[in-house]
């Protein structure tokens, strides 16, 4: 009985969330995009996440190279460290890690901000002033996310490769020019885009979830906390699960 109720509730929620997304898409298609607001949101979301993304990416690139040095040496294939680092980062690690960190930072902020506006009647006040909150508050956040997450991903890839480079050159004693050359040869068009194209899906999913949870937040400051944690948890789970499916699809059709 409880299970049936949970399923019914989930279907109803999904329906509401889809209507919400429909409203957003309609606004975007009609060109109701506030460029100033988008830029402001891009700045806030980007600045908020960039430091932690740089730190974690650097560490990830470095650890890939450390592990690569150990494992590849066993096969006598130490010179492939550069490829291992570049492929891992570009195809999987950077898109997924960046999306997860972005969910926890920018996503949480979006839900908490919108949720607070909801419980303080600012959302209703917007409507009372003759302004559509979807157009004014939601669309700019969605679009900013769609533009910022790819940029952050590229930053993460570059910094991660730099981390791998330092380990490769100074720990594993691979000649610098050779390492750079190997890296540049390793990343082909498909490698880059098979990872990069996933980021746009993640951006839509994260911003949709976080905006929606903020938009339906109820129940005062307790509610803001509850809906924000829910939004972050959903975002991270959806990123990880959808990544598996997207990866399978991309590899099947593309390589």
């Amino acid at each position: 009985m409880a299970l049936i109720r949970l399923i019914a509730y989930s279907i109803a929620e999904l329906g509401n969330a889809l209507c919400f997304l429909g409203d957003i898409v309609r606004n975007v298609l009609r060109g109701r995009i506030r460029k100033g607001e988008v830029l402001r949101q891009m700045y806030e979301q980007g600045v908020q996440s960039v430091t932690i993304i740089v730190l974690t990416s650097f560490a990830t690139g470095a650890v890939l190279a450390i592990q690569g040095a150990v494992t590849l040496t066993r096969f006598g294939a130490k010179e492939y460290i550069a490829q291992l680092v570049a492929w891992s980062l570009v195809r999987e690690m950077s898109p997924v890690f960046t999306a997860i960190i972005f969910s926890a930072k920018a996503g949480a902020r979006i839900t908490a901000e919108l949720g607070t506006m909801n419980v303080n009647d600012q959302m209703l006040a917007t409507r009372s002033l003759g302004v559509d909150p979807i157009e004014y508050l939601i669309v700019p956040r969605m679009i900013a996310c769609f533009l910022v997450l790819p940029i952050l991903t590229v930053i993460s890839e570059v910094v991660g490769i730099a981390g791998g480079y330092l380990v490769g050159v100074f720990e594993a004693h691979i000649p610098s020019a050779f390492y750079i050359n190997q890296t540049l040869r390793a990343i082909r068009y498909v490698d880059f885009f098979s990872g990069f194209s996933k980021v746009f899906f993640f951006a839509v999913l994260i911003s949709w979830i976080c905006c929606y949870q903020g938009f339906v937040t109820r129940g005062g400051s307790l509610g803001v906390g509850k809906f924000t944690t829910k939004a972050v948890a959903y975002s991270i789970i959806i990123v990880i699960l959808s990544n598996t499916i997207l990866t399978k699809i991309i590899i099947t059709f593309w390589g």
Binding site: N120, A125, S128, L129, G130, V131
Partner: protein
């Protein structure tokens, strides 16, 4: 003119508004009185389409708003000033930006014109020199004044105020009540105020209505309310 006909609203089976019927004349100030949780906010929100009633009709200057889509409601709301209980100011904007927001959204005024309008309205609500402050730096009474300024800056002909005196001390309650009355009379606004504060309500109201158990149990001028023989009305007034 505003007319509410047979308005009914319940939440999860609990009836909050039960067949509410009343009219507000052009330029009149009507105060809706009632204890907390009696549905005053729900009633006022229904009157600008922020809450969809279960049944009944609401006429605002010839438009029946319960049948309108959100897009049309957004247009109608530009003509209506609505003061929320806690002011509902944008906390990412300072006072100036909050008050200028409706002008920036709905008019073609240039920067200077907007600045002078905001300055004027701040004088009207008796708040000067707070333009650069953020809502978190304001007292409850100041927030309500800024909210009032923002709600009337487009020159609305209708003004709704939800519990303008709640959370304020007696002197500030009286001041803001008088302020709303003065503004309403000066702009010739049709005004509806909700309140549980009988003393200030009767100071400013042309007529008052008392709401209880989802129904309007008494309605009339100050004298009529005071002369009422209904025991509940008497108890509420004293």
């Amino acid at each position: 003119m505003i007319r509410v006909e047979h308005l009914t609203k319940s939440f999860n089976g609990q009836v909050v508004l039960d067949d509410i019927d009343f009219e507000v004349q052009e330029g009149e100030i009507l105060v809706i009185l009632g204890g907390s949780g009696t549905g005053k906010s729900v009633l006022l929100k229904s009157m600008i389409g922020l809450v969809k009633p279960d049944s009944g009709k609401i006429w605002i200057d010839g438009d029946e708003i319960t049948q309108l889509a959100e897009k049309e409601l957004l247009k109608i709301r530009k003509e209506i000033g609505y003061l929320f209980q806690e002011g509902a100011l944008y906390d990412f904007m300072n006072v100036f930006e909050n008050i200028a927001f409706p002008l920036a959204e709905h008019t073609d005024l240039d920067k200077q014109a907007i600045e002078s309008k905001v300055k004027n309205i701040l004088e009207v609500v008796d708040l000067e020199g707070v333009e650069r402050k953020y809502p978190s730096e304001l007292s409850g009474g100041m927030k309500k004044r800024v909210g009032l300024a923002r709600s009337i800056i487009l020159g609305s002909k209708i003004l709704f105020c939800d519990e303008p005196t709640s959370g304020l001390d007696p002197i500030r309650s009286r001041d803001i009540s008088d302020l709303i009355k003065n503004i309403s009379k000066k702009l010739r606004c049709t005004t509806v105020i909700t309140s549980h504060d009988i003393r200030n309500a009767l100071r400013v109201a042309d007529r008052a209505a008392l709401i209880r158990g989802g129904k309007i149990v008494a309605m009339g001028t100050q004298a009529q309310m005071e002369a009422s023989s209904d025991t509940f009305v008497r108890a509420f007034i004293q």
